[in-house]
Symmetry: none
Subunit: 228 residues, 4 copies
Amino acid sequence: MATLPPQRPHDASDDAEPRQRRSRRKEARPGELLDAALALFVEKGFAATRVEEVAARAGVSKGTLFIYFPSKEELFKAVVRESISGKYTEFGQELETYTGTSAELVRYCMHEWWREIGMSAASGITKLVMSEAGMFPEIAAFYQQEVIGPGHDLLGKVLQRGIASGEFRPMPIEYAVYSLIAPMIFLLMWKHSMAPCCPPSQQLDPVSFIDTQVSLLLGGMLAPTPTR
Amino acid sequence: MATLPPQRPHDASDDAEPRQRRSRRKEARPGELLDAALALFVEKGFAATRVEEVAARAGVSKGTLFIYFPSKEELFKAVVRESISGKYTEFGQELETYTGTSAELVRYCMHEWWREIGMSAASGITKLVMSEAGMFPEIAAFYQQEVIGPGHDLLGKVLQRGIASGEFRPMPIEYAVYSLIAPMIFLLMWKHSMAPCCPPSQQLDPVSFIDTQVSLLLGGMLAPTPTR
Amino acid sequence: MATLPPQRPHDASDDAEPRQRRSRRKEARPGELLDAALALFVEKGFAATRVEEVAARAGVSKGTLFIYFPSKEELFKAVVRESISGKYTEFGQELETYTGTSAELVRYCMHEWWREIGMSAASGITKLVMSEAGMFPEIAAFYQQEVIGPGHDLLGKVLQRGIASGEFRPMPIEYAVYSLIAPMIFLLMWKHSMAPCCPPSQQLDPVSFIDTQVSLLLGGMLAPTPTR
Amino acid sequence: MATLPPQRPHDASDDAEPRQRRSRRKEARPGELLDAALALFVEKGFAATRVEEVAARAGVSKGTLFIYFPSKEELFKAVVRESISGKYTEFGQELETYTGTSAELVRYCMHEWWREIGMSAASGITKLVMSEAGMFPEIAAFYQQEVIGPGHDLLGKVLQRGIASGEFRPMPIEYAVYSLIAPMIFLLMWKHSMAPCCPPSQQLDPVSFIDTQVSLLLGGMLAPTPTR
DNA sequence: TATGAATGAGACTTCATTCAT
DNA sequence: AATGAATGAAGTCTCATTCAT
């Protein structure tokens, strides 16, 4: 099975600002601002996030933010663009060379996706895009085209592979793919909206949920085998 | 399978206002305002919706809104409260008297839920609550308690029923329930965020999606039968 | 000494509204509104008093108020006009026929004024007029002309009487009169502004204050007598 | 009699602004805003004064005001607090070392008070506080405690001094003190309310008024002397 | 005459954006 | 490049006034 790609160092950007970073690499500024903006946009929404907060969290002044981003809206777009750049290229390559069963591949994809995206700092981007789609339709369309679409195609190929090999029954692939996408999007939304508001007794363990979900779906996908 | 309940006449709430007499309209005002607010909050989010827009859409002036709701925030809370009042009581009763197979019941529940809630004017409430959870955590908790929780319990009973009768295999009910909830929440989010931004080729037919989803999940839930 | 003029019935207007007065004399309405308005204007000032409060305190609806007074400003003016109508005519007549010493007359005037005006419902009118003089200069001028001026003249005559009889020394009457007016205006202001905010230990007993004040002033007014 | 302290050059606080550099102005802003606010609050009252006016008079925009004061109400409180800071400390020290007669001291205090406070830019603060006491009782109580109370105590000591030395007769000091306070408060109220509305013929010269008032009161305070 | 629902001008306050330093 | 003081458009909310009933 493919090894995990090297985890981004990912400098814990959402702790209390140490403030004495001062003369560090200046080229890090936009990145810090994007990290701060992502966290706040996800948490409070675009309109309710003040640029001053973003700047403060990134350890710079309000004016500095406008040196790097011409407006709050451009900052928003940059956040989305940045968070989704080339997320699926490696996945595609892994798929080509994969040699195990398709059922394993499906399970692997789901867990891997959660580890890579669901647990990353960028995990809220989907929640953000969906929440703000009404105000930023072109961003939503962009996201659909750059993220959902490729992911959809990838999963489509996985299912196709299983059907082609006879491991999976024939099925309406278009919809079956959304059966895999839906729980992941649900998980992201849940993590960033309901989870923080729910008592511990109602928390949902993502890994167990994915396990159950995949098992059930595979139950419906796998072709009946004589031995089974 | 249970026959469909008679389709509600489906309150044509946003057609051209007939502009009735003042006194007649008084008791209708709060409802009209709530409808308008729901639509706009879902579409643009809480912060980006201006109360003047809400008032205009309800056919009244800005000041009138504040006669009925003391603040924008209270309006928001009223929208949520109003939209979820007693949604699940009938469902519960249907469940008790149902005599078909559990598989049919699951399928029925999902489709029925979509018809009753997913297609109603209140369908956006879930998207709204999840989008604004960061700003209104107590509303999210309220929603969890009043809507998600009861729905969860109801579905839990359905699965229990199937397991008890031997129709379903044993399964981790907590998570399996979320396997049924997740696609529905996904559908709502999709309908109110991505769908309006996507080209026709990428539209998702909710009924077909539910069909596929249920079929796949049931494949994993149903106990293996000798004849099968 | 002159008997007190018959106390106006003065229907305790600042208790909880009984509301079931309904079809009582309609001609009482403006008076009730004026009473309510006076009390509220004195307490909260013109701008901070809402006409709805005035109406509610008078037991009528907001709309009714505008039947009797074309605007809030006219209501204000009516309050002032009403509260000062012919306050000094009786005083003047008493003065003409008074036969005691001028010192006694001064003392009598001061105490009587306090009893008649300082303790009446209209006592706040001076505070009101002075507080709002900046916004209603013509009202202040009107008040000066109708109330302060006549009062000034009256007191001037009293002092003149004393000087003419040799009971008082010569003095700059213009200013001496203000020495009598000043403590009374001070008392009114105090009663309606500081007194309600002060702890009991700092309360000022008006009668004792007037006593002391008059005694001291008379000490400076009375001509030295050989026997004394 | 103590010589008058050299007349202060009398703070030319409301002349044409020289429009300095931004950074230089920063620490001056709150003061300019307080000056402007004091003038307008005294003139028009709290409610009728618009923050935009205050800002305009201070030469800044509306938004700038809110950088320095979080709300109109806090601005009001700051105006009062600022205007009364440490007004009485010097007075107290002068009193201790004074060597003249108590009658002279009384006269000196009154004139000095008028020069220092009555003629200063902060002169309207008493009028303001009394006018707004109904809406800001805690401010009125604060003023009573910080200004009226200490002034009262100071004057009480002056009278005590005179009585102890046999220069003044015994008298009810509590009330006698108010006989000194009352005309000063009257003067302030008059200056800021009636005076601007009265024709020149009815203007009151403060210094002459104080002279007369003090002479009359001293007439009642001084112990009779054999030679006199 | 009386009501009170409705209005809309106007107030306070916020905050994205600019710009002198 | 960075700052943060200043701006002013825009939003929420109030309340005097109107008017159909």
